[in-house]
């Protein structure tokens, strides 16, 4: 990354090869859309070039790149939320036929596991911290850096999110 920062832009290719799968996995877990996740990976690397001057050799690169990925994902989430708020009745009729509609997907896909349904009932922030906690290379110190809180707070949020998931999961299982 330091080489990219000093102007050797071609070295971005090495970073891409190293992190593309992890970033794609993160986005895909968040939105379950292959096309969108691929676009978001691309956006991360565009932002890396744009903000390369903010990177310092003391930063842990994995935490830094996930910080960017998190912002990219959150911007996209806000954008799609805004779009959903702006839809009129005609759009609703259209959306019912649209395979990307989250609720419709839940209702129609019989193969969707209970846990997947439970995950979709979590808030955006709860899903995000659980997905980040799944990365073995990320300790809670780094997760705190990514989401902008202390290590302890990241741990508590992850615990609460997992607890919430457990409650929803067992409720769904009892039905």
């Amino acid at each position: 990354m330091l080489k990219v920062k000093s102007g050797d832009t071609e070295k971005l290719g090495l970073l891409y090869e190293r992190y593309k799968k992890r970033l794609f996995g993160f986005f895909y877990q968040m939105n379950h859309n292959v096309d969108l996740s691929e676009d978001l990976v691309q956006n991360v690397f565009i932002k890396i070039l744009k903000y390369k001057h903010n990177y310092s050799d003391e930063s842990k690169f994995l935490a830094w790149i996930f910080q960017i990925a998190r912002n990219v994902s959150y911007d996209n989430y806000n954008k799609s939320k805004k779009e959903q708020n702006n839809i009129n009745l005609t759009d609703v009729a259209y959306k019912i036929d649209n395979k990307n509609n989250a609720e419709q997907t839940i209702a129609s896909n019989e193969d969707l596991s209970t846990l997947k349904i439970a995950m979709q009932k979590l808030t955006y922030e709860e899903s995000e911290i659980l997905i980040l906690s799944k990365f073995k290379e990320l300790k809670y110190k780094e997760i705190g850096e990514i989401i902008g809180c202390s290590e302890g707070s990241a741990r508590i949020r992850a615990h609460r999110a997992l607890n919430e998931l457990k409650v929803i999961f067992f409720k769904l299982e009892k039905r």
């Binding site: 071609e10 290719g13 895909y28 877990q29 691309q42 690397f45 846990l115 659980l130 615990h159």
Partner: protein
């Protein structure tokens, strides 16, 4: 351990991020407190179910194409401060013409490059400026590829090093150049040349043939420096196919201890 520490460590335990010592201490505590054991087991069950539900598909090759198109479009903007094509060809000409060890072929190619360049200069008014520059770049690239092939055949290590460094200036690389680079990587007697070859090939790791060639080259390397450079590159591009040849390399008795340590670390990173 008390209840506060239990709460602090719970998520790390569930996520498998505790070290052995802490893990044993934690398990001892929860086995002694049935409520805690129940809570942890519930969370662990959900956490482990998440693993089986988190299978993401692989990103498609289109994503790579899109990225490298973007990267190619960004690279010239970053390199505008580099010397002009004319200055570069001139420096190449001076460098080669005044070196008594240079072969005839290299002379011929440089003269051809000058011919192409002068031809284009004379014809300049007939073309639109931007189109002309593009044509010039394409022609220079072609000449540069020929120059690389010619210089790689030279007996002087400096010339071969120059050839390998020339590859870094190529935007697109022909298969014949890639093959010549792998011949150099696997057979050149000079370690510096082989190291520079790895650096040059790292610019083209988006080509499956280059990745495959690099993996196959691992077992052929005897120099610890080259082995370490390859280990770094394989981790850099997350090439898991390199694990098997690296393990074979580790079994060799004559392996250098620093290289051995580096390879072991790299295998761990790749797993």
């Amino acid at each position: 351990m008390d209840i506060i520490e239990y709460k602090e460590l719970m998520m790390d335990y569930v996520a498998g991020k505790l070290n052995i010592e802490k893990k044993i201490e934690f398990e001892y505590f929860i086995n002694a407190h049935s409520e805690c054991l129940k809570e942890v087991n519930g969370l662990k069950l959900v956490w482990e179910s998440m693993d089986s539900n988190s299978n993401s598909p692989e990103p498609r090759p289109e994503m790579d194409t899109q990225f490298y198109t973007f990267l190619n479009s960004e690279t010239p903007k970053e390199t505008t401060k580099k010397p002009s094509i004319f200055e570069h060809v001139k420096s190449l000409f001076i460098n080669i013409i005044f070196n008594p060890n240079t072969g005839r072929l290299a002379y011929g190619i440089v003269i051809l490059a000058i011919g192409v360049f002068i031809g284009n200069k004379l014809d300049f008014d007939a073309f639109n400026g931007a189109q002309n520059t593009e044509t010039q770049i394409a022609e220079i690239q072609k000449v540069r590829s020929q120059l690389v092939l010619a210089l790689l055949e030279q007996p002087s290590a400096n010339k071969r090093l120059q050839a390998v460094n020339e590859v870094n200036e190529l935007k697109e690389v022909e298969e014949i150049v890639i093959n010549a680079l792998f011949t150099t990587l696997n057979n050149d007697v000079n370690t510096n040349v082989r190291l520079a070859t790895i650096e040059s090939l790292s610019n083209f790791v988006y080509l499956p043939s280059v990745r495959e060639g690099l993996v196959q080259s691992i077992i052929k390397q005897n120099s610890p420096l080259v082995q370490i450079a390859l280990a770094d590159l394989m981790v850099g591009i997350d090439e898991k196919r390199s694990i098997t040849p690296f393990r074979k390399l580790l079994k060799k008795e004559e392996i250098n201890s620093a290289a051995k340590q580096k390879i072991e670390q790299s295998i761990q990173s790749l797993l």
